[in-house]
């Protein structure tokens, strides 16, 4: 749903005050970057002013603040609000100072929340598309990724049109990773029955090695509750996939996240010092899962559901040739495929030998 937009494309904004949570420079950058999200896909140009009334007045406040007809509610709950284009409060965006504003994934990322509120300031209502920036609930997405979904773009372009000098006049779509990009690295890789799933940021590729078919999807298309930038994933012996990010993990069966997840990785038997998992693979022949963290690995018995004693061990001791941190690993037809940076190694767990080094994107028919 969109409301009448601004009748001009040159808009001004003013940062009225600052949050003590972040440096002024970080706040300035977050606000500027958040406005750029919208100017990238529309003819809009945003200019900062330091005095007087701007079209978009940006301020931090708590509970009842100034003459604003809405109030904030302390930590969590409502994070910010904004008003549609117009005079007075029109176009203004307010941020709840009782929240923890940050530039990263901790607390609430000011850039992401500001980009959402500026969508309202330009005339957009909330979207019920969970992948959209204009979805009402906060969801962290790596700021390096383009946060607008096709839904956001079509909404704002229905008000202002597209960016006049966009090269091919098509509505700008979120940049999705290029499959054969030589710089492409993967966050995690897992099998799922006969297919292999490669994860990167918000996207995943489904590869069918038998007929070399490749499909690119958004992770949220299958599992809306999963975060982006998953760090490790593996298929266990019960037709389930486990996804890891930070100290949390989710168990997925089909399309469902099993109830009670995410759980803390300490419930698997990791010591408190382990903060995240780099990669994991379940050896279907032994029913044992290897978790790789830095230059070490732990072994988990899927049958007894417990971590084996005598771990961690150094990875290179049991996987000769695999010297570096493991970015991702999966098993296919008995062999393990280890990924680090731009390299991939095919490893035979029976003879404990690296068979060959292959190009990282060998699975994609590049």
């Amino acid at each position: 749903v969109t409301l009448p937009g601004w009748k001009k494309t040159k808009l001004t904004y003013r940062i009225v005050n600052y949050t003590p949570d972040m440096s002024k420079e970080d706040v300035d950058n977050a606000i500027q970057k958040a406005l750029k999200v919208w100017s990238t896909v529309t003819p809009l140009i945003f200019t900062r002013i330091h005095e007087g009334i701007a079209d978009i007045m940006i301020a931090f406040g708590t509970k009842a603040h100034g003459h604003c007809p809405r109030y904030f509610d302390g930590p969590l709950g409502v994070l910010a609000h904004a008003f549609p284009p117009g005079n007075g409060f029109g176009g203004d965006a307010h941020f709840d100072e009782d929240e923890d504003w940050t530039t990263g994934s901790a607390g609430f990322n000011l850039f992401l929340v500001a980009a959402h509120e500026f969508g309202h300031a330009l005339g957009l209502s909330h979207s019920n598309d969970q992948r959209a920036l204009m979805f009402p609930n906060y969801a962290y997405v790596s700021p390096s990724e383009f946060p607008l979904s096709p839904d956001d773009i079509s909404g704002v372009q229905s008000i202002y049109g597209s960016q006049p000098n966009a090269p091919d006049k098509r509505p700008a779509t979120p940049t999705s990773p290029k499959t054969c990009d030589s710089q492409m690295s993967f966050d995690a890789i897992t099998t799922l029955r006969r297919e292999v799933i490669f994860l990167k940021g918000r996207h995943l590729w489904r590869v069918y090695p038998d007929n070399s078919q490749v499909e690119l999807e958004l992770i949220s298309t299958f599992w809306p509750n999963l975060p982006s930038s998953i760090q490790a994933a593996y298929e266990n012996t019960k037709d389930q996939i486990l996804f890891f990010k930070g100290n949390k993990f989710w168990v997925i069966s089909g399309y469902q996240v099993l109830p009670g997840y995410p759980k803390n990785i300490s419930t698997l038997g990791f010591p408190k010092g382990v903060k995240k998992i780099d990669a994991a693979v379940c050896n279907k022949n032994t029913g044992k899962t290897d978790f790789f963290v830095g230059d070490k690995y732990w072994r988990y018995d899927e049958n007894s559901q417990s971590m084996e004693t005598g771990y961690p061990r150094r990875t290179v001791d049991d996987f000769p040739g695999i010297r570096q941190k493991v970015d991702a690993v999966f098993q296919q037809k008995g062999f393990f495929y280890f990924f680090h940076g731009s390299k991939q190694w095919e490893f035979d767990p029976t003879t404990k030998k690296v068979i060959r080094e292959i190009k990282r994107n060998s699975w994609f028919n590049c």
Binding site: L3, R70, F72, L76, G77, V78, L79, A80, H81, A82, F83, P84, G86, G90, D96, E99, F108, V113, H116, E117, H120, S125, H126, N128, Q130, P136, N137, Y138
Partner: protein, 84 residues
């Protein structure tokens, strides 16, 4: 469908639901309206609207999934109506 108090686990949940629906699913009064609006939406109807918006099971009742969604940090702009 009227929502019966026994569907709330506790007063806190009841207040959460009322606040949430009033804040984000109250249809703003029509400026051209001349008299009282006789058929204000019931809590159950607003709940159904919220559940439909978030893709939850539309029950009109404050089940645990709905309460969970209501507890997530979010934007203060209403999800319905003209948010001006």
């Amino acid at each position: 469908l009227p929502v019966h108090p026994e569907n709330y686990n506790n007063e806190e949940d009841e207040k959460l639901v009322e606040d949430y629906l009033n804040k984000f699913y109250a249809v703003e009064p029509d400026p051209n309206q001349l008299g009282w609006k006789i058929n204000a939406e019931s809590t159950a109807e607003k709940l159904q609207k919220m559940q439909k918006f978030f893709g939850l099971k539309v029950t009109g009742k404050p089940d645990s999934e709905t309460l969970e969604m209501m507890k997530k940090p979010r934007c203060g702009v209403p999800d319905v109506g003209l948010y001006g």
